[in-house]
Symmetry: C2
Subunit: 122 residues, 2 copies
C-alpha cells in the first residue's frame, strides 16, 4: 500500500462578529502574536496597517508554518480571520479560541481546508 | 425588500502543482507585486522570507483590500496560494491566471469563499 499523501496543512477561514478593539493597532498586534504562540508556530514577521482614526487595523503575521491574517471592519464589529498552519494544525483550534476571546467576539463561523502537496482541493 | 447583505469579499484558496522558480526571492516578490496589480488592488507592503539555498520563499502582500500569500515547497513543485480581495473580487481570476502563468504551473485547484459582514460562511 502506498504511503498516505504528504499533506499536513490546515487553512482555517473564520468570520468574527460582535468583535471589539478592531481599531487598536497595538492590540491587534498583540492578538496576532498571541495567536502565533498559541498555535506553537514560529513567527517571522508581523505587518500592520492602520486605515486611520476610528477605522480598522489590517495585519498579517508571516509564520514559518504559513500565516495568520486579520482584516477588520470595526464599524460592523466584523473581522475576517484566516490561519494557515502546516505541520502544527493540531493547535489551530486553540489559536482560534484565543483570538475570539481576545476580541470578545459574540459569534464566529469557520471553514477548514486540508492543504499540501498531495492534497485534493475542497 | 431589505437591501442585499453587504458582503463583497472573495477569498480564493489555490494549490499550484508543477510550479517553477519557487526558491527565487526576487521572482516571488515580482509575482506578488504583479498579482496585486492584476487584481487592481492597493499594495501596502510585501514581506518575504527565504528558508535557505534550494528551499522556498514564503511571502505575503498586505493589501488595502486584504492580502495575497504564497507558501511554496519547491522540492515538490507545490505552492499554496491564497488571495483575499474585498471590493474588487471581479479581478481575482485574472490575478490567479497571472500567478499560474508566471510560475509555469502545470495544474491548479481552487476553491472560493464569499466573505464580509453579513455573509454566511461556507
Amino acid at each position: 500500500m502506498p504511503p498516505p499523501p504528504p499533506y499536513d496543512g490546515c487553512h482555517l477561514i473564520a468570520d468574527l462578529h460582535g468583535a471589539k478593539r478592531l481599531d487598536d493597532l497595538a492590540f491587534v498586534e498583540e492578538v496576532l502574536r498571541a495567536a502565533a504562540e498559541a498555535a506553537e508556530a514560529t513567527l517571522l514577521n508581523v505587518t500592520l496597517h492602520h486605515f486611520g482614526p476610528g477605522l480598522g487595523v489590517t495585519g498579517v503575521a508571516l509564520l514559518a508554518e504559513s500565516h495568520i491574517s486579520i482584516h477588520p471592519w470595526p464599524e460592523h464589529g466584523y473581522a475576517a480571520l484566516d490561519m494557515f498552519l502546516c505541520g502544527r494544525s493540531d493547535t489551530i483550534s486553540r489559536a482560534l479560541a484565543l483570538v475570539c476571546a481576545m476580541f470578545e467576539a459574540e459569534r464566529v463561523t469557520e471553514t477548514r481546508h486540508r492543504r499540501g502537496y498531495g492534497a485534493v482541493a475542497g
